[in-house]
Amino acid sequence: MSPIHYVALSVILFVIGGVGVLVRRNAIVVFMCIELMLNACNLAFVAFARMHNNLDGQVIAFFVMVVAAAEVVVGLAILMAIFRARRSASVDDANLLKY
């Protein structure tokens, strides 16, 4: 199995995640789609690490995981704060800064 297969799969997953971010209205689902995109990037990193026969790609994937965890924590806390103020998890309802 050549790494190109894994890279192609990661591209497909990344695009699906991007569509989800664009289409879905529920902010939690948008977050999940962002996680999907990060996971797709990790798959590409691991595939390239294997192709280049070194471990740097895996280290970067590890860092991506750490940053994703931090991002989820802060993002979900922001979501909770918005939900408390607006009683909704829809991205359309947080529009106070519009205009």
């Binding site: 199995m1 050549s2 790494p3 297969h5 890279v7 192609a8 799969l9 591209v11 497909i12 997953l13 990344f14 695009v15 699906i16 995640g17 991007g18 569509v19 664009l22 289409v23 209205r25 529920n26 939690i28 977050f31 999940m32 789609c33 999907l36 996971n39 990790n42 691991v46 595939a47 690490a49 294997r50 192709m51 026969n53 070194n54 471990l55 740097d56 895996q58 280290v59 994937a61 590890f62 860092f63 995981m65 750490v66 940053v67 994703a68 965890a69 931090a70 989820v72 924590v73 802060v74 979900l76 806390a77 922001i78 979501l79 909770m80 704060a81 939900f83 408390r84 998890a89 829809s90």
Partner: protein, 287 residues
């Protein structure tokens, strides 16, 4: 799976060709299908489950590609911690909040689809132009083992990013605490206030508990009042209460047979039970 992990354990890329190809195609179809389902299903909880499928498939792929450490980190951190956090917040801010179908921006889905196709084409052209060779037979960097190789890299070349990561995690934890903190604007009600409120409401006793019957004791069974009617207070408002009179085999108190009479024909009771269970299940699926 154990075969893959065992092979990945001593640092090579792993399985023989046929096995890897088979597992790759199974996992690829599963993960793409789950990812598509994730953006198509309405309810956020189903999205989380689909995301779990994608993450577990990716973890197996990491293990297949000589990254057993990342495979386990993926399972522990993503499927364990991050998804649990997602589900936790989902339960907190309303499990029933499903997406609205209404397009708020006109033609947004069409535009998103076009953008996705464009991105897909651009990325695949990029990959096609890149020189991606075949994988070497075994990962030489894994010579002393994947784990010690990664540790050497993290604590030598990448030690500064690693430290910054620690600062980032502390900042994230503090930020979550600050954002989730709610300032109390009114004093906390004391026991005296609560007792006064309860007396003023005129409803001293706690709400009745749901009904417990011979065949059913689910939480969505309303309790029967002495006159045979059901009590709406006994079922949590988030559940849809089930009307016991709708179920033919349900034994109402007024036509309940005495124990001695019931023991005369036990075969009837036994034959009744499965159909009743089936009805209960189909009723649950309907609601």
């Amino acid at each position: 799976m154990s075969h893959i992990l065992a092979a990945a354990g001593h640092g090579g890329t792993n399985t023989d060709f046929i096995a890897e190809e088979t597992i790759y195609w199974i996992l690829a179809v599963a993960s793409v299908g789950a990812a598509l389902a994730m953006i198509l299903v309405r309810r956020a909880v189903h999205c989380a489950l689909m995301l779990a499928v994608v993450m577990l498939s990716l973890a197996t792929m990491y293990a297949m590609q000589g990254a057993p450490f990342l495979a386990f980190v993926q399972i522990i951190v993503y499927t364990g911690a991050v998804l649990m956090l997602f589900l936790f917040v989902l339960m907190l801010i309303g499990i029933s909040s499903s997406d609205s179908i209404v397009e708020t921006i006109k033609g947004q889905r069409m535009a998103a689809g076009l953008a996705a196709i464009g991105l897909l084409v651009i990325l695949f052209l990029g990959i096609g132009h890149a020189a991606i060779g075949g994988a070497p037979a075994s990962t030489a960097a894994n010579g002393t083992g994947n784990l010690s190789g990664l540790a050497t890299l993290i604590f030598t070349t990448y030690v500064f990013p690693f430290e910054v990561t620690g600062a980032l995690l502390i900042t994230a934890a503090l930020g979550a605490m600050v954002l989730a903190h709610r300032e109390r604007t009114s004093p906390k009600p004391t026991q005296r206030d609560l007792a006064a409120r309860r007396l003023a409401s005129g409803h001293l006793a706690p709400d009745p508990s749901p009904g417990v019957y011979a065949l059913h004791d689910a939480a969505d069974r309303p309790a029967l009042l002495p006159d045979g009617s059901t009590s709406a207070l006994s079922v949590s408002p988030t559940l849809s209460p089930r009307d016991p009179s709708e179920e033919p085999s349900f034994v109402r108190p007024e036509d309940a047979v005495p124990v001695t009479a019931a023991s005369d024909e036990p075969s009837d009771e036994l034959s009744d039970e499965p159909t009743d269970e089936r009805q209960a299940i189909s009723g649950r699926a309907d609601s």
